[in-house]
Amino acid sequence: MSSIKIRLKSKNGITRIRTLIAHPMETGRNKDKVTGKVIPAQFIKRVTIEYNDQEIASCSLGTGISKDPYFSFHFKGGQPGGRIKISWVDNQGQTDTAERMIK
C-alpha cells in the first residue's frame, strides 16, 4: 500500500490535484506516553509533483505541517492520459512515490 493518495479532477482546463500522505510528521519534541522517551523527529522534507516526468511544483517542509500532510494544487495544461507523479522524502531518508493518470 502506498502512503500517498492522489485525487485528480479536471474542469475547464484546470486539473485539481489533491494529495494525502500517510506520515507521522514527528517533531522530535513529543514524548512516548508509555516509556516517557522522546520520539525522534521524523518529518517529510521534500515533496515533488511531476507531470509526465516534468516537475511542476515542489515543496520544502518543516515540522509545522500537520500529521498526515494534505496538499492541494491547481495545474493548468493537464491533458487526459497525462500522468501526475507525487513523491516525498523524509529526514530519515525514507521515501515513497505514487502516480495517477488524468481522466
Binding site: I14, S58, C59, L61, T63, I65, S66, K67, F73, H74
Partner: protein, 154 residues
Amino acid sequence: MVSSRRNFLKTACSAFCLSIVAKFGLIFTRAAEAAWPEKAFHSNKLNDVLLNLFQQNKTTKTKRIKLKIPGIAQDGAVVPLTITSTLRQIDRIVIFVAQNPRPLIADFELSPNMEVFVRTRIRMADTGHVTVIARANGKLYSTQKQVSVAIGGC
C-alpha cells in the same frame, strides 16, 4: 593459485559493487539535503528566513494575496489554510508562523503552469499571526492573518 585468483576476483568485484551502491546512496541523500534549506528552517526570525531563501528581506504588504484560514482554531495540530492570489508570476510561496518553535512551515515552488493556489494543514503552537510571503517577478509580497488557537498543537 587458481582458487586464490577466483577469491581475489570475487572480493574485488563485490567491493566495487558496494562502493557504487554507497556512492549512489550518498548522492541521493545529498541531493535531498541540498534542496532543503536547513538554515532557513532553523532560524526564528522572518528576516533571516527571507534573507536565506531569497537573498532579500524587503516585503510589500498586499491585499492581492488571499489567505483563507479560520479566525479561531479549535485544534492547533490541524489548521487548514488556503492561499490564492491575483498577482501574476508568483513562483514561490512561504508560510511563516512566528510563535511556533520552528517558525518556517513550508516553502512552495510553483512552475509557471501552476495556478496560484495552495491548500494545506499546518500546526500552530499558540494564538498569533500567520504570515504568507510570495515572490512575484522577483519581488516579495506579504499578507498576515490573526488566528486564535484554543489548544496548541506543536
